[in-house]
């Protein structure tokens, strides 16, 4: 592993029964880099996110270093407090709480409380500010509605806001764009570009390639849990193996 990397994944393996969800995966990530992870359904993308964030424990031998510290074996909340925030592919809002109160939970976490402080009521203000940033209409009733009654696009943005509330150094977005309309994605792209420009390292698991390639400068392609390509987006997409695995294109039928 290189001394400058913020995240180092080495020999990560996860088996569910006889199936290898992630097999012997290694990569380095430099601070400020934006990495896209793509691959067909069931190729282990979400499992990889779960492994990095501590929701799933890997097989023996796998290591994940965050700023030269092995984070395998830590609980998900400890990892979050180190500065890794993740969103869930299946949105997991607190359905009974108003949208802005969803964020107050994140703002109440030990790490955020330490550098932001705030009494009861202050966090409500911070939450509304954050919601405005991800595209909630500030003066409407939307931020005050129960999260369970919001449309899917808003829930995705709420999920993003929950991650941003933690002010992470590494932000992992698991299929943020899935289920969002084109206009919703278009409204969120500048925010992601801004987050990246501010120096936050970004990992995006995505199926929407065109939008993904606007943000990331490097792509890793997974197939059956293994890395089949790693590099700049346009170079990677030119590789035959990637085309075959991901796009289902038979490049050379007789090969």
């Amino acid at each position: 592993m290189s001394a400058s990397s913020i995240l180092t994944v080495s020999n990560l393996t996860k088996r569910f029964g006889g199936v290898y969800a992630v097999s012997d995966l290694s990569f380095d990530l430099n601070p400020g880099e934006a990495l896209g992870i793509i691959g067909p359904n069931g190729s282990g993308k979400t499992t990889l996110v779960n492994l990095i964030t501590g929701f799933v424990k890997p097989e023996r031998g796998g290591r994940v270093f965050f700023r030269d510290r092995n984070i395998i074996g830590l609980m998900p909340y400890d990892i979050a407090n180190l500065g890794i925030a993740r969103s869930f592919q299946m949105v997991r809002p607190f359905t009974h709480l108003p949208a802005y109160k969803n964020l107050v939970v994140s703002l109440f976490s030990p790490k955020v409380r330490k550098f932001k402080g705030g009494k009861y009521g202050d966090r409500d203000e911070m939450a509304i500010d954050l919601l405005e940033e991800v595209g909630f209409e500030r003066d409407s009733f939307v931020p005050y509605k129960a999260a369970g009654s919001l449309p899917h696009g808003y829930l995705k943005r709420l999920e993003l806001a929950r991650c941003l509330a933690l002010e992470p150094d590494l932000l992992i977005l698991d299929e943020l764009f899935s289920g969002m309309s084109m206009s919703e994605i278009a409204s969120i792209l500048p925010l992601l570009e801004k987050i990246q420009a501010e120096g936050t390292t970004l990992i995006m698991v995505e199926h929407r390639l065109r939008e993904l390639f606007r943000i990331v400068d490097r792509v890793i392609v997974l197939n059956f849990g293994a890395k089949i390509a790693d590099g700049a987006p346009d170079e990677v997409m030119e590789q035959d193996e990637v085309k075959r695995a991901y796009m289902g294109i038979e490049v050379e039928p007789d090969a």
Partner: protein, 341 residues
């Protein structure tokens, strides 16, 4: 064709106005907010003065109802964190036995045993439950069901703490005529304290854990610490109730761990409505007197009681309190249904 109507439910104007700081705008808005609260506080504090009307027997029933109300409030707080307990008599019994043992063997006065049993009992219960906090739903419920039974059998088998006969001739509570006030004050403190707690940012995290614990973990919050703290806070009124009844009856025995103290708080919350604490309080203050007044029917009592529970849960699944609250905050009016919509 006759126009069809549907029911429309709207917030009263006064509710929207008094939701926030604007409540201070007028005496009418202020009264709208304060009336239910004053009714509760005034009603409860008046009860002991009605000795002439109710008689000692019914005052004692109200005293028991109040201890069950403490258990129900405690049950409601645990349920708000997503921990469904089927063994609330664990808290009650531990509090009872600590108070009883301290008074019996060390001769401590009830003024000392009550707070000690409350805090130490809550600590012991939290330590007992801590290992199973990783369990959720029915698995957690099942183990809580077993814990009080375990205590009962241990006391029976090892004959510690008086064995099957229990510890008797304990000191009575001081200030006899005012005993009812002690438990009434405890109920009020617990009720308003819990309401305040669950509305704070801290309480928000507790409710969020109930909603989705993985998201709370992803937000960097150690849910097991929060659950353990919630168990401790929830155990306080329950262990107090146990210690209180021990000194009131001047005896403590194995029935302190009996199923009655697990089921009554649970049914109180189900009948009254979960999540607001007012429902738990209302449920306990209704169910215990009703169950007492059915004593005249002898063995049929349980049947009548069960039928009543079924009618309530089927007819008002949300609970009595949410129904009353809705009627207080909202009005209904018929609206014609438009064609084609």
């Amino acid at each position: 064709m006759a126009a069809t109507y549907r029911k429309e439910r709207l917030d009263r104007g006064i509710k929207a106005r008094s939701d926030d700081i604007f409540a201070l705008a007028s005496y009418r808005d202020l009264a709208y907010l304060l009336l239910p609260r004053l009714l509760l506080i005034g009603g409860l504090l008046l009860v002991p003065l009605l000795e002439g009307v109710l008689g000692l027997y019914w005052l004692n029933v109200i005293l028991i109802a109040c201890t069950i109300a403490l258990l129900a409030l405690s049950w409601d707080l645990l349920a708000s964190v997503g921990l469904i307990s089927l063994g609330h008599s664990l808290f009650f019994g531990v509090g009872s036995y600590i108070a009883g043992a301290l008074n019996y063997s060390l001769g401590w006065s009830p003024l000392l045993t009550l707070p000690v049993a409350m805090v130490a009992g809550a600590l012991i219960c939290t330590l007992l439950i801590y290992p199973i906090l990783r369990l959720r739903g029915i698995y957690f419920a099942l183990i809580t069901l077993a814990l009080p039974l375990l205590f009962m059998r241990v006391i029976e088998a090892t004959k510690i703490l008086g064995g099957t006969e229990g510890l008797s001739s304990l000191s009575p509570l001081p200030g006899q005529p005012l005993v009812l006030y002690i438990v009434l004050a405890a109920v009020l403190v617990c009720f308003f304290g819990y309401r305040r707690l669950i509305d704070s940012d801290y309480g928000l995290v507790l409710r969020a854990i109930n909603d989705n614990d993985r998201s709370v973990m992803a937000s960097g919050i150690n849910i097991y610490h929060y659950k353990a703290q919630a168990v401790f806070i929830a155990a306080l009124p329950a262990t107090f109730a146990g210690a209180f009844l021990t000194h009131h009856y001047r005896i403590v025995g194995m029935p302190a761990f009996s199923l009655e103290y697990s089921i009554l708080p649970l049914t109180s919350v189900i009948v009254g409505g979960q999540g607001s604490f007012a429902g738990a309080l209302l449920g306990a203050l209704l169910l215990v007197p009703v169950s007492e007044s059915l004593r005249a029917f002898g063995t049929l009592r349980v049947v009548l009681y069960s039928v009543m529970l079924v009618i309530f849960t089927v007819g008002l699944p949300e609970g009595i309190f949410p129904y009353i609250r809705r009627k207080y905050h909202q009005f209904e009016r018929p609206v014609p249904v438009e064609e084609g919509s």
